[in-house]
C-alpha cells in the first residue's frame, strides 16, 4: 500500500497536474506537494504526489556506487 509510482509533471492547473506515467497520462493532486514544478519527476501515491524525485541526489548515489569494488575474484 506504500507503493508509489514515478510520474513526470506535464502541466499544472491549480492544485492538480497532468502527469505522465511512462506515457500514460493521468491527473494527480499536488495538494501535498505544492512546490512541484512542470518537468519534475514525482512519486505518486493514491493519486497524490508525495515527493519530488531529485535527479542530482540519484546521480550522487550512483556516483558513489561507481566506486564500489566487486568481488576480489571475478
Amino acid at each position: 500500500m506504500c507503493l508509489a509510482v514515478i510520474a513526470k509533471i506535464l502541466q499544472i492547473e491549480g492544485v492538480t497536474a497532468e502527469a505522465s506515467f511512462g506515457g500514460v497520462r493521468r491527473r494527480i493532486s499536488l495538494q501535498l506537494l505544492p512546490e512541484a514544478q512542470v518537468g519534475d519527476y514525482v512519486l505518486v501515491h493514491t493519486g497524490f504526489a508525495i515527493a519530488v524525485v531529485d535527479p542530482a541526489e540519484a546521480e550522487a548515489t550512483l556516483a558513489l556506487l561507481a566506486e564500489v569494488r566487486g568481488e576480489d575474484a571475478p
Binding site: 500500500m1 501515491h45 493519486g47 566487486g70
Partner: protein
C-alpha cells in the same frame, strides 16, 4: 517517459558489486546479524529479487509490521464489514482490504451478498463517488500509514470545502514508529539494524527514526524499493554494525529528505489527531492511531453511524500476528502453503500485496521455505 535513472537502480551488475562488498564487510562480523525490513513492500522486493538468498549467511533479513492491511485489527475489519452491510452505505476501499477474512466473512463476500463495495485507487475517487451517488452514504475505508493518511486527510478537506455531506471516512490509519518501538520493547526478537520504510519516510522524514539509534542503539538505513536501493541500505547497516556505530543513514536521498514532506505532514495533522489504536499482533498501542479531529466530525464514519458491535475472533490457527512482530517466518506457520494460500487466504498476511506470507508464497517457496525449521 519513465524516470531516466530508474534502470540503473535495477542494474544486476551493480547489485552484484554491492553484494560483494556486503560479503567482505560480513567477514568482520563477530556474530550473525538480523536486520528487520519494516515495510511489506520491501519484503516483496527482497523476495522477488532473491536478495534474501544472495546475502551472506551471517546477514539475515526479517519481515516487520509494515503492512497496513495486515496490522488492521480483526475487530476493525468486522466493523467495516458491518458498516458495508447497511443498506444506505456504499463502502469505498483500496482493493487489498476486500479479501481479508473477517470473523464470519470478508468484504468481498459481503458484496456478493448484496453489500455495496467499490474499489477505488484514490480517496479522491471516493469523494467523487459521493457526488455521483447523492442518495447513498459513501464511506471510505481509510487504511494505511503516514504515506497514505495525508491523501485521505486531503480528501476529507476537499469534501469539507465542497460541502459534500454524504461522504465519510473510517480512519484505521496508523503511525509506524510506535510499532517499531513496541517490537523493541517486547524484546522477542534480537535486531541489529532496521531497513527504514522509504515512502513513509518521504512523508515523515528520515530523522523521524532518530529515536532508534538514540534510545535503542540501533542503526537505521532508510531504503528505496529497487534492488540496488535495498542492497545499499543493507551495506550501510552491516557497515555500521561492523564499525560499532548506530546512526540514521538515508539510503534513498532522491526521494527522502531528513525533514520529510512538511505540506503532507501539515494536512495530516489538520485532519487527524493522535489516538490509541489496536494492531493485529500487538494489541492496543498508545498514540499509534489517527482519529478524525472534532472539526471533521461530520466526515467521521464512526461518529455518524456509531461503532458497530460485532463479536470478533482471529482466524483459527493464523499466526499473522507473530509474523508481523518478526517472531515467526511465514513457513513456520502450520497453515502456510497447506490450508492458507493466496487463493484461500486464512489471514491478512496472505492476502495483502505487502503481506509477508503472500511474498514468501509467491517468490520464496523454494529450498529456503522448506528448510526453515
Amino acid at each position: 517517459m519513465t524516470w531516466p535513472s530508474l534502470e540503473r537502480f535495477r542494474d544486476p551488475a551493480l547489485g552484484q558489486r554491492l553484494l560483494g562488498e556486503i560479503r567482505r564487510l560480513a567477514e568482520h562480523l563477530t556474530r550473525p546479524v538480523t536486520l528487520m525490513e519494516f515495510c511489506g513492500s520491501h519484503t516483496h522486493a527482497i523476495m522477488q529479487s532473491g536478495i534474501r538468498q544472495l546475502l551472506p549467511p551471517q546477514v539475515r533479513l526479517l519481515s516487520g509490521p509494515g503492512c497496513p492491511v495486515c496490522v488492521t485489527a480483526q475487530a476493525d475489519i468486522d466493523r467495516a464489514i458491518a458498516l458495508a452491510s447497511r443498506p444506505e452505505v456504499l463502502l469505498a476501499s483500496f482493493g487489498d482490504m476486500l479479501r481479508v477474512p473477517g470473523t464470519t466473512h470478508s468484504l468481498q463476500q459481503a458484496a456478493a451478498e448484496g453489500a455495496s463495495v467499490q474499489v477505488v485507487y484514490s480517496p479522491l475517487d471516493a469523494v467523487a463517488l459521493a457526488g455521483q451517488h447523492p442518495d447513498r452514504e459513501v464511506v471510505f475505508l481509510g487504511v494505511g500509514f503516514e504515506t497514505t493518511a495525508p491523501g485521505v486527510a486531503a480528501a476529507v478537506q476537499w469534501a469539507q470545502a465542497r460541502g459534500v455531506r454524504n461522504f465519510s471516512v473510517v480512519s484505521l490509519h496508523k503511525f509506524t514508529p510506535p510499532a517499531m518501538r513496541a517490537i523493541l520493547e517486547a524484546g522477542e526478537v534480537r535486531l541489529d539494524g532496521i531497513i527504514g520504510p522509504g515512502h513513509v519516510s518521504a512523508v515523515i522524514g528520515s530523522e523521524a527514526w532518530a529515536f532508534l539509534p538514540r534510545e535503542y542503539g540501533l542503526p537505521v538505513a532508510v531504503a528505496g524499493f529497487e534492488p540496488v536501493d535495498i542492497l545499499l541500505a543493507v551495506r550501510g547497516l552491516v557497515r555500521m554494525v561492523v564499525e560499532g556505530r548506530a546512526e540514521v543513514v538515508n539510503a534513498y536521498p532522491r526521494a527522502v529528505r531528513p525533514e520529510g514532506n512538511p505540506a503532507a505532514q501539515a494536512v495530516m495533522q489538520q485532519v487527524f489527531a493522535v489516538a490509541d489504536a489496536e494492531w493485529r499482533g500487538f494489541g492496543v498501542l498508545p498514540r499509534s492511531g489517527m482519529a478524525l479531529r472534532e472539526a471533521f466530525r461530520p466526515w467521521d464514519a464512526w461518529a455518524r453511524f456509531g461503532v458497530p458491535e460485532v463479536p470478533s475472533r482471529e482466524p483459527p490457527g493464523c499466526r499473522c500476528g507473530e509474523v508481523l512482530r518478526g517472531v515467526l517466518t511465514p513457513p513456520e506457520c502450520p497453515l502456510f502453503g497447506r490450508v492458507c494460500t493466496p487463493e484461500a487466504p486464512q489471514g491478512p498476511c496472505m492476502v495483502s500485496a505487502e503481506g509477508a506470507c503472500a511474498a514468501w508464497y509467491g517468490y520464496g517457496r523454494g529450498e529456503e521455505a522448506h528448510s526453515a525449521h
